[in-house]
Symmetry: C2
Subunit: 159 residues, 2 copies
């Protein structure tokens, strides 16, 4: 246990800014699923900045980054979703969790998810949910370790 | 095939109104998971109406009902979620799909989901996602028939 405590990174979790967008896309593109989906070009395509504006304007969405010694090393998006079910409790939805490949296994993802669950509680949620791709077996073990249950099937349609 | 065509209900899909809330909660409460979670009382607890107000005020959430001959027989909530991934495309999230127990197998759920997928496309989504509980095997088959893939694991934490 000592080893994992020593290995914990000292990070700050803060709202993402416009000048973090390239770092975020670079993390989103850095895996077997993201590589085919993103356009990691220089300059970054304007559609990413337009999407960042939509995210920033939505009071029910919080896009945060983990910063370590001035470098963005992780990201997470939390959506707060009002709804009628579960006695009108809002739900939290976690999306797009990523940690820079050279900064993994240091507790950064854990700190991001703990932040998101805490924030969802503060904002009145009684449930936090997420979908992880069937192939992300490590991610599923990670979330189980943090108290999430594999309770649902996540279904998607792309077009 | 003719039978299923003959059995299709003629319904109207429209935004939910405040006076639909009791019908919606009654459908949400009418299954093995919802029964323990909802408070189907008369009058309905005020927290449901407060949640309805939060839903109505959120431009990225559309709560709709299926109406058949003046009666609410189905419901669905669609959330449009901006985000950076997939080249800044928004995602659609479908939640709380229900059809009144005496009106099932008539295509009402299918029409609701078709509406949601079409609306998500119009609003710029390239993906629609949803979570169904592991025990809802019929629902999983239903979504597969409509083109959804069992691509993800849906994970949840309740508190």
């Amino acid at each position: 246990m000592k080893e994992s405590i020593h290995a914990m990174s000292s990070i700050a979790i803060r709202p993402a800014r416009r000048d973090d967008v390239a770092s975020i896309i670079s993390m989103l593109a850095d895996d077997h699923l993201g590589r085919a989906r993103e356009r990691l070009e220089d300059p970054l395509p304007a559609l990413y900045y337009k999407a960042f504006e939509r995210v920033s304007e939505d009071p029910n969405i919080e896009l945060v980054v983990a910063e370590e010694e001035g470098r963005v090393v992780g990201c997470l998006q939390l959506c707060i979703l009002p709804g009628l079910s579960s006695q009108g409790a809002s739900r939290g939805l976690i999306e797009d969790v990523r940690v820079a490949s050279d900064r993994r296994s240091r507790g950064i993802g854990e700190q991001l998810v703990h932040w998101a669950v805490g924030e969802a509680k503060v904002r009145g949620c009684k449930l936090v949910e997420l979908l992880t791709h069937q192939t992300r077996v490590d991610a599923q073990r990670f979330y189980e370790r943090l108290g999430f249950a594999r309770s649902h099937v996540g279904m998607t349609i792309r077009f």
